[in-house]
């Protein structure tokens, strides 16, 4: 059993003292930012990226991954107890989770959500183990034309499945691609858009851009909204044990949520938020008592919580096997790998088996850790919520600045944070989303490289993208996705998926 050996090897790596420690740190930080509203995993990972430079790549990626799935755990705690979703992916959990808490079933809601998340996390990890080698084997046959088409598909799918205006999101992708080209042209050595700034000649750093767009702009937006003092009254937690009836309702919902979440996580642009919303809608449709939803239905907690965690796990599949990020966090992970000198793509599994399998094993360990972190320590996390935002945002700002500086010990990167903070604020005001921009930015240089190589190999014949069968297939799917968006029926469905119950 080749696979079994790999898994054992992975656990060997993940169970080393150092990696366990970084996994724990990642999960703790993830839970923390999941609990705190106003800061998400994208800004946090960008902020902490410079600190991971000194770590070995495996430890660094284990920690960053922990932040990502830890955030989706932490977000649900506050959604249930105080009706405040810490992350977008736990917005739906507030609908029934908080109602359960008001009925005195807070403990049951929390344990159902933790068990559901753990089950989903385990299932997602198994899926990665099973499917990653297959996808990797397939991707190894890809030439530059196929890669270019695959990236096009990834970018378009990310746009179609995300919320908001599609044409604006596509324009954001192209803007990201264009800005990603800043730096020295690899083939000719020519300086492109560098304005003779030495820091730009190595290419534009995505970390300060992510901090600006997702950290600073978010803070400015929050300050504008004039949120009054938050009065947090946490629901009392009596018993953590669900009743027999609750368990009977929750179990199948967890399985359904996990399945749907796993599927949606793999799709580009899917990810935890879409998974949580869709599975809530599904549960409501399947239920014999849909009127219970919104009033404390157990399934309304179990399914979305399982789904968002399953999706958080499976969204690693395209990133690990193909090097294609499916959402903004994965784009940062791709960037983190490049910084560590690892070219993301199918070679990671064959050339760096330690990293690949170690990271997968650590995800399962991390999920187990999260159950332990979340359930007994719940009181501590809830108390953190009472910290007012006016204490929080200066600290976030400060850590963004220091993080940006320590990228290359240069104040230029801090300036970039300021510039992209303003740009991010403009994006926010104009209703343009940052995630497609970040995806384009990270994929830009690679996509250009593949495009040029494909055109060179075909002697300048652009039809190469359509004459090679795999490439053509990928482009047809891309075109179909775009076509779908024109159909009014699909558009309505898409709107509904994101605005369920407001």
């Amino acid at each position: 059993m080749d696979l079994l050996n790999h898994v054992i090897q992975g656990f060997g790596v993940a169970l080393s003292f150092q990696n366990l420690l970084y996994c724990l740190i990642g999960c703790m930080v993830g839970t923390l930012i999941g609990v705190l509203p106003g800061i998400g995993p994208v800004a946090t990972i960008a902020m902490l990226l410079p600190l991971t430079f000194k770590l070995p790549p495996t430890s660094a990626l284990i920690m960053l991954a922990g932040i990502y799935y830890g955030a989706s755990y932490g977000g649900s705690t506050t959604a249930i107890l105080v009706n405040l979703p810490g992350e977008a992916s736990s917005v739906v959990t507030t609908l029934d989770g908080y109602k359960m808490a008001q009925k005195g079933r807070a403990g049951a809601a929390l344990s159902i959500s933790a068990v559901g998340s753990f089950f989903a996390g385990t299932f997602g990890t198994v899926l990665i183990v099973l499917f990653a080698p297959m996808l990797t084997a397939m991707a190894q046959k890809f030439g530059p034309a196929e890669y270019c088409s695959l990236m096009a598909l990834g970018l378009v799918a990310a746009v179609v499945l995300a919320s908001g205006s599609v044409i604006k999101a596509i324009a954001m992708v192209f803007l990201g691609l264009l800005i990603g080209l800043i730096g020295t042209d690899v083939n000719t050595g020519a300086q492109r858009y560098t304005f003779n700034i030495p820091e730009l000649s190595d290419g534009i750093d995505f970390a300060p851009i992510a901090m600006g767009l997702f950290g600073i702009a978010e803070i400015i937006g929050n300050l504008e909204k004039r949120v009054g003092g938050r009065h947090v009254v946490a629901a009392k937690i009596s018993s953590l044990w669900p009743t027999r009836e609750e368990a009977r309702l929750a179990a199948p919902a967890i399985v359904r949520g996990t399945t749907l979440g796993s599927l949606l996580g793999v799709l580009p642009g899917g990810g935890p938020t879409l998974a949580a919303f869709s599975s809530y809608t599904l549960e409501k449709k399947l239920s014999k008592t849909p009127q219970e939803f919104g009033k404390g239905a157990v399934q309304g907690v179990a399914a979305p919580e399982a789904a968002n965690n399953a999706a958080a796990q499976t969204s690693f599949i395209p990133m690990l096997t193909l090097g294609i990020p499916s959402n903004a966090v994965m784009a940062l992970m791709v960037g983190a790998m490049i910084i560590q000198g690892i070219q993301p793509g199918p070679e990671v599994m064959t050339k760096k088996p330690d990293l690949f399998w170690g990271m997968i094993a650590s995800m399962w360990i991390g999920n187990a850790m999260l159950v332990i972190i979340n359930l007994p320590l719940i009181g501590m996390w809830v108390r953190l919520l009472t910290v007012p935002y006016r204490f929080l945002y200066p600290a976030i700002l400060l850590f963004c600045c220091i993080g940006a500086y320590s990228l290359q010990n240069s104040d230029f990167h801090v300036m970039m944070v300021a510039i992209f903070g303003v740009i991010g604020y403009i994006f926010l005001k104009l209703g343009c989303e940052g995630a497609p921009f970040l995806l384009g930015l990270v994929l830009g240089p690679q996509m250009e490289e593949y495009f040029r190589r494909a055109m060179l190999l075909s002697r300048g014949d652009a039809t190469v993208f359509l004459t090679r069968p795999i490439s053509a297939g990928l482009l047809i799917v891309t075109a179909l996705l775009l076509l779908l968006m024109v159909l009014p029926n699909f558009r309505k469905k898409r709107e509904e998926a994101f605005h369920e119950e407001g």
Partner: protein, 149 residues
């Protein structure tokens, strides 16, 4: 009125603007041929697409204006931005502590309520935290106050 402050109108103009800017600034980059592309080939291609998309968004906004831009509030955006810029300027020249104090004060002034005592306390706590994490914990090569420590 509605039309003039449409989010779509301005975002379309922004995209087209970025495209034109990239064309102008990249005008010296060699295009090359489709077989051997110069450094300017792909940027030009992307610029044209971006301009096209931007104009399409503008055109659409003229037919249906969509959402209007919410009122801008200048205080948070200017204070936060100035804070970060001042931090960038002071960090190497004066050290972490003065940069931090300026950033925290400017950020606090950008918020809804400014409380002097709280802000001073926040500066002290955050300085201590940074010293412990970055200087002692990660032994980063940063000075707390230039020339002193």
């Amino acid at each position: 009125m509605n039309r003039l402050f449409s989010k779509d109108l301005w975002s379309g103009l922004m995209f087209a603007g970025f495209g034109v800017l990239a064309l102008v600034m990249g005008s010296k980059l060699a295009i090359g041929t489709a077989i051997r592309m110069g450094p300017g080939y792909v940027p030009r291609m992307l610029s044209y697409i971006l301009i096209g998309l931007g104009l399409a968004i503008v055109a659409r906004s003229l037919i249906s204006p969509g959402e209007t831009i919410e009122r801008l509030r200048w205080k948070p955006v200017t204070m936060i931005t100035i804070g970060v810029v001042v931090f960038a300027l002071l960090f190497e020249r004066a050290g972490l502590a003065p940069a931090l104090v300026c950033l925290i004060f400017l950020a606090a002034l950008g918020g809804q309520e400014f409380k002097l005592v709280e802000t001073i306390l926040a500066c002290i706590v955050l300085t201590a935290l940074c010293v412990v994490i970055f200087k002692l914990g990660l032994s980063m090569n940063i000075s707390i106050i230039r020339g002193v420590w």
